[in-house]
């Protein structure tokens, strides 16, 4: 059974420059599917286009997409807002700096029609925040990146989406926090049967999180296969290069310091 099904998606700039061509992917409920590629490969544009969040001057020109059997994109036109939410690369920038965490959660819950005493606390506890009351009284800049990312994840699952798009959700975090956040995303979506599109440039993170992955290069999917196959038997020349560059060890120079 597929949850998200995308076919023939193409994204162009207003000037006719092609950013994404013939993108196709499918995601099953509870599955984490990766999109990997270098900067500028079109992976973020793909994610944004599915959510209708493309920046000005960039638009979907063709493609079909459906979520849980409901088409939301046909012939490049958005039919409805898909029941999907997003986790961002910089969690501190994904929260309104002028509002306390509690106020942001309350507003979101009220907006979703789920306001009730203790709802916000429950939500924060469900993403592993031990002292929800203390966190709710803080502004985003008073919390660590990892804590903010937990809050962002809590807000993302509050709407009970069927699809979650994670755009490099751990790139800005410490390695230890990164592992915790990845585990949180994995457990959260598994119990709730939420499908995830996991956008990253980090092959290691992708290998940890996903069973299947799409490798993107210059706006095209070069390979869409199981992670194991991609790692052990890459079928595409670009995938090979990407893996080789990920495995490359820092070079030692004469005086013993390391470079790149």
């Amino acid at each position: 059974m597929t949850l998200l099904n995308v076919e023939g998606l193409a994204v162009d700039t207003r000037g006719g420059h092609s950013l994404v061509r013939d993108f196709a992917i499918e995601v099953a409920p509870g599955e984490v599917v990766g999109i990997v590629g270098e900067s500028g490969s079109g992976k973020t544009m793909t994610a944004l286009s599915l959510l209708g969040l493309l920046p000005e001057g960039v638009s979907v020109v063709s493609g079909e997409a459906s979520l849980a059997g409901m088409p939301f994109l046909r012939d490049g036109r958005v039919l409805r807002r898909p029941n999907a939410t997003m986790i961002f690369q910089n969690p501190t920038a994904a929260l309104n700096p002028t509002m306390r965490i509690g106020a942001q959660l309350d507003r979101l819950l009220a907006f979703l029609g789920k306001k009730g005493r203790g709802r916000a606390e429950e939500l924060l506890e469900s993403v592993g925040i031990g002292e929800p009351r203390a966190v709710m009284g803080r502004h985003p800049h008073q919390l660590s990146g990892g804590m903010n990312q937990r809050v962002v994840i809590a807000m993302a699952i509050a709407a009970e989406p069927s699809l979650l798009i994670a755009d490099e959700p751990t790139t800005g975090l410490d390695v230890t926090v990164q592992a915790q956040i990845l585990e949180l995303i994995r457990s959260t979506v598994a119990t709730r049967e939420i499908g995830v599109l996991f956008v990253s440039h980090d092959m290691g993170v992708i290998a940890q999180m996903c069973r299947r992955v799409a490798v993107m290069y210059q706006g095209e999917v070069r390979e869409f296969a199981d992670v194991d196959d991609i790692f052990h038997a890459p079928g595409d020349s670009y995938t090979k290069e990407l893996l080789a560059s990920a495995a490359e060890q820092p070079r030692k120079v004469g005086d013993g310091t390391r470079t790149g």
Binding site: M86, Q89, A93, A94, M99, F111, M155
Partner: protein, 282 residues
Amino acid sequence: MTVIGSPVALRGNLAGRMKLGDPMAYVAFVTLGLIIALGAVVPLIFGDGDVAQDNEGLLPPSWSHPFGTDRYGRDILLRSLAAVRIDISLGVAVALSVLVIGSTVGALSATFGGMVDAVIMRMTDILLALPGVVLALIITASLGKNTWFAAVAVIIAFIPLLVRLARAKALEVRSADYIAAARLSGASTLQVAFQHVLPNAIKYPFVQSTLVASLAILDFAALSFLGVGVQPPTPEWGAMIAEGVGDNLLGAWWPSFFPGLMILLSAASFQIIGDWLDRRLR
């Protein structure tokens, strides 16, 4: 965690905030505070100088009349202080109106973008093409000589400035991730504009509004000086200067000097407070 919320820590924090860190700001706050306090209290006790016409006209500054008297024998100190009610409160009221209207329009313009933005920007272009006082003169000339029309004219003259400023900041805020998140959760453009864009874009317009208060006092006095704002015999600094101009030729400098000094002190105080706010909020 608990220490941060305790009253002791809060008091320390407040004391830290009260430290202005700038002697000029002290002077400005004290000057403006004195002007407002005296303007509020003195006319209640001594009247606004209009009835004391048994004095001789054009008495130079002395102990009984520190600012002297004008040609009708009215006490210039009392009139200058009575004018605080009009000049300072109109300056502040103009600044607040300009802040509210300007930043709201600016935030909406940036959030909606497209045609809405284009139309609003062209309108500000038109308004900005004329200097503020000239624009206000045109408006009062067509509406009529009246205190309220003059105030409205000054408000209209300053709005485009704040619209531009708020829009510039709002454009930056608009592309933030939390705006995308809010849109994703289904918030309408209006909700995004008022709940997320406006609160995050208001800092610079807020600082600018203290400068608007200063400029509004100047412009309002200028309009009254030119005879299209407050009409005599209501005490108002600009109008008082205009009345005193003729007396300058007779060697009586005080009827126009002291109202001018009041304008200078209050406008300069607002400017310095604006500079201080700018540095504090940066």
